[in-house]
């Protein structure tokens, strides 16, 4: 397993779904998943994440 491993302070998970947030310009990255990701909860691509910071972790199971 190769992923980032570092130490952060522990914090509780916030399970809120509602996201009325700042959503600026449209000239950033754009993507749409061809099939729903695991645990997608209705997220289909970048349009659903407008105005939200996205962390992408490229990893492998080996």
């Amino acid at each position: 397993m190769k992923t980032t491993v570092a130490v952060l302070s522990t914090a509780a998970m916030i399970a809120a779904l509602v996201s009325f947030r700042s959503a600026p310009s449209d000239d950033g990255v754009s993507f749409k998943f061809s099939k729903p990701p695991v645990n997608s909860m209705g997220i289909t691509g970048s349009d659903d994440l407008r105005g939200k910071p996205i962390v992408i972790d490229f990893w492998g199971t080996h």
Partner: protein
């Protein structure tokens, strides 16, 4: 535990973590791996589709896309140190303020929108009346419609508790905007229908089960047995199918 999981659990819905399996393993393989590693039970999503191209030659690689949709950092996370976490924190802060460059006259509209007051935000835009205000009006409408579409997805896919919560917020947010009110009301009606009762009960049981096992040996035989009994207890429900799927994932042998 990967930093990305810790970030997801720290910031909840304020950040979206996307794990991209990049070694051509099957969906069952990486989903099973994530459960076995106790990384599930949060908002992170898992895919094998790359939202953006990688820039390095190996793994791991991490990227941060800021609130303006632009890539802020990308590379081997080992080279970022604490800068990555600081950048995430700064972006979360930005996401709670009107977009940079918003005209003064439109700031009240953005502030209303971010407080969850969609109709008030639309009214503020109409009051300003400029081209920028018209564009913001369309943007608020579009974002509200996406939220409503998400409620529909949650109902369709057997997440009534999450759908209820979001629909409740939206119902307040769009009060006074008839078209949006109608769309939200349609989902509220679906959620209140008698045939949703079994889905609600199953969803609640599944959510409690995930909370209980996600950080404690999810594939322990006793937990697998519980998953199988959830499937039997809630036949023909989405949550029952999720429980059955978990029991199947426990059989996957990760290398």
């Amino acid at each position: 535990m990967p930093t990305s999981i810790k970030l997801q659990e720290k910031y909840g819905d304020d950040v979206q973590v996307i794990f991209v399996e990049s070694q051509a393993h099957t969906r069952e393989d990486y989903e099973s791996f994530a459960w076995r590693s106790k990384w599930m039970g949060n908002n992170a999503i898992w895919t094998d589709e790359r939202p953006i191209p990688t820039v390095g030659t190996g793994l791991p690689e991490t990227a941060l896309i800021g609130v303006d949709g632009k890539v802020i950092m990308q590379g081997n996370p080992g080279s970022f140190g604490k800068k990555f976490e600081a950048a995430v924190e700064a972006e979360v802060k930005k996401s709670k303020a009107p977009p940079e460059g918003t005209p003064e006259a439109l700031k009240p509209a953005w502030i209303a929108y971010m407080k969850g007051e969609v109709s008030a935000a639309l009214a503020e835009c109409d009051k300003v009346g400029s081209d920028e205000a018209k564009a913001a009006h369309e943007q608020f409408l579009s974002m509200a419609k996406r939220q409503i579409a998400r409620v529909k997805w949650l109902v369709d896919n057997g997440y009534p508790a999450d759908a209820d919560k979001l629909a409740g917020e939206l119902a307040k947010a769009v009060k006074g905007t008839p078209d949006l009110e109608t769309q939200v009301a349609a989902q509220v009606t679906r959620l209140a229908a008698p045939d949703m009762a079994a889905e609600k009960e199953a969803d609640k049981a599944w959510a409690n089960f995930v909370k209980e096992i996600s950080k404690k040996k999810p594939f322990d035989p006793a937990n697998v047995k519980k998953a199988e009994s959830l499937d039997k207890k809630f036949p023909n429900t989405n949550a029952g199918r999720r429980a059955a799927h978990l029991a199947e994932l426990a059989k996957v042998k990760n290398a």
